[in-house]
Symmetry: C2
Subunit: 365 residues, 2 copies
């Protein structure tokens, strides 16, 4: 076993604190990674606080993990000792269902779907009704820790042009938005809307712009209008109904990155005939959608989830090539609770990234 | 002016009754039609009872109109005296917007959208804020009448192989469902679900089957399971959760034909990864859709509205070629109020069609 340290939530009410645990030694196909940086995703907060009602405690969040390979199994061929690598939202999948064999592991239809980097498997053994849990474990511990062991297939290569702390949020925020923009065919000259201007919105706007689109971000935070201008995209306040009215039927694609239940109706009206609004940030019942607005222009409201391994690798390379990446604020592990509070009130531009070296400096908060 | 007779609702509470009115004489591009049959669409009931809060009274419903040409304007070239013709949901559109010039008049983006066959224009003059109503009228009177005058472009040709009373419901129920099935690419070997088994559901099931799909209809009415078997399609009760469970991720496309707000979540789960559920029957805010079920399989919930003129003509010919059509129950005009009550409680297999010759037999109910 490997002695590991991390930060965990003990229950839905607890602040995160130091947690010592053991990780299994890597097998022949596994890569052991010394974690350098881990991004802070809004999902981490939902999960730590049991807002999706499926958290297994203790919960060690973190699925935007960048580190250096410290050991490889005998059969590992893709990664070598010392490589800078990344781990995103998944660390395994069934590998045999139709999506898995079509390189869409993020839509794995195996009995427990894909294995989440933390709080996986999705159906814990204790709740599994169809025989044994296929991944043979009750829980997984994420990247808020000094070391992680992952099957080589689920380990991404970080391009040399990307700083490790900038690469980290690309593994979820970047990949999730890239996957949707790519799937719905965003291309040069199109008009793309981004609803919500946090960690995912920041990446969605930059990626869509790099794809050649004319990008508008919709935000509730007037201070963020300046940020939009700084990125070279148009910013519109969500409650500026006169501005929204002028944008009726103007967009080829809209991605919503708001990480909770919200009302998409004002944005559905902005879609061109036959176009799609994709909800990529929320995983809950949405506000009722008025089918009059949908049907009168044959629009669609879709959803998409994280990204395949191939898309994740592709977005890392896309960001390196286009010299884009998230705006990050690097914090110490010990600052995580304050950071959660700031994320919750939208006070971050745009992604916190934990410098994991802080974990060794001081282990007591 | 032409003296016309029809049946109208005087207000939201009134039963329909005889109504004498005048229609404008046809101009050089117009076709005057002696109405033979008119289908009874659930929309007629919504509109007569002001359930969409936009009814202009008196309201003469009817947008599944089949009749014989009794006069043509000097410039009419498509239709001739004595032709059997049809009129669907629209009698005009702006003719200049992008959808109109792309043969998708049903998505007209002109200032008043397309002109509905009855209760049109969508924005009545009295409520228009952007200058004069482009169609120059406050209301339109539909096919529950003995005569109708329509611009030739909006008049369809009824193939000789179709009986006129069978052709009538194809003009809305058939066209609306055909348009969605065609747009989402339903094809041989696919599995297609039809939610709701009334007038639209009947046509959707028959059309999808004729396109080569394996069709399942979902109904609340156990008596309709036999009807499904009779049509050669599978019937499943909407509340049979065990049956629905077995159909998870099984469908390539699902069309909902339920004519009011309803919960699509149980059917979203039946879609294959990347597939679409199209709401074609309801025009109101739907029940909240759980984005977890949508996003986890990159599904879409879409809407579509009636059909273009081209698709309407195409479905008439498709039905003639495949020898399919709605199951109809022919009624007298005087029976309309009882028919509305029966439609409301789902007691029709599957479409009432009014024999308009009844209007001359007795003008007093």
């Amino acid at each position: 076993m490997i002695d590991a340290r991390g930060y965990s939530a003990a229950d839905a009410q607890s602040r995160l604190s130091l947690f010592r645990f053991e990780r299994e030694e890597g097998g022949p196909h596994d890569v052991t990674i010394d974690v350098l940086y881990c991004g802070v995703c809004h999902s981490d907060i939902h999960q730590a606080r049991n807002e999706w009602k499926n958290t297994v405690y203790p919960c060690v969040p973190g699925h935007e993990v960048v580190g250096r390979v410290s050991a490889v199994g005998a059969n590992v061929t893709r990664h070598a000792l010392g490589d800078l690598v990344g781990v995103g939202c998944m660390i395994d999948s069934c590998r045999s269902c139709e999506p898995c064999t079509s390189a869409e592991e993020n839509y794995c239809e195996g009995p427990n779907s894909w294995l989440a980097t933390y709080n996986g498997p999705m159906v814990p053994t204790s709740k599994a009704t169809t025989g044994e849990n296929m991944y043979g474990r009750d829980n997984s511990y994420g990247g808020y820790s000094n070391v992680i062991v992952v099957s080589e297939k689920f380990v991404l290569s970080i391009p040399a042009a990307l700083k490790p702390e900038v690469a980290a949020p690309i593994l979820c925020a970047g990949a999730t938005t890239f996957s949707a923009l790519k799937y719905w065919g965003v291309s040069k000259g199109q008009r793309v809307g981004v609803v919500g201007f946090g960690g995912l919105g920041d990446m969605a706007a930059k990626l869509a712009k790099a794809m050649g689109a004319d990008v508008t971000v919709f935000t509730r935070t007037s201070e963020k209008l300046q940020e939009a201008a700084r990125f070279g995209v148009t910013g519109v306040l969500e409650h500026d109904t006169a501005a929204l009215q002028k944008l009726s039927s103007a967009f080829d694609f809209i991605i919503s990155t708001v990480p909770e239940r919200h009302d998409v109706n004002p944005f559905v009206k902005l879609l061109k005939r036959g176009s799609t609004l994709c909800v990529a940030g929320a995983l809950e019942p949405m506000s009722p959608v008025n089918n009059q607005d949908v049907a009168f222009h044959r629009r669609s409201v879709a959803g998409s989830l994280i990204a395949s391994l191939a898309d994740t690798q592709e977005v890392l390379e896309f960001c390196a090539e286009h010299a884009i990446g998230p705006d990050v604020e690097v914090i110490r592990m010990q600052d995580i609770n304050a950071a959660y509070d700031r994320v919750t009130r939208g006070d971050v531009r745009f992604r916190f990234v934990i410098d994991m070296s802080s974990l060794t400096e001081s282990e007591i908060e």
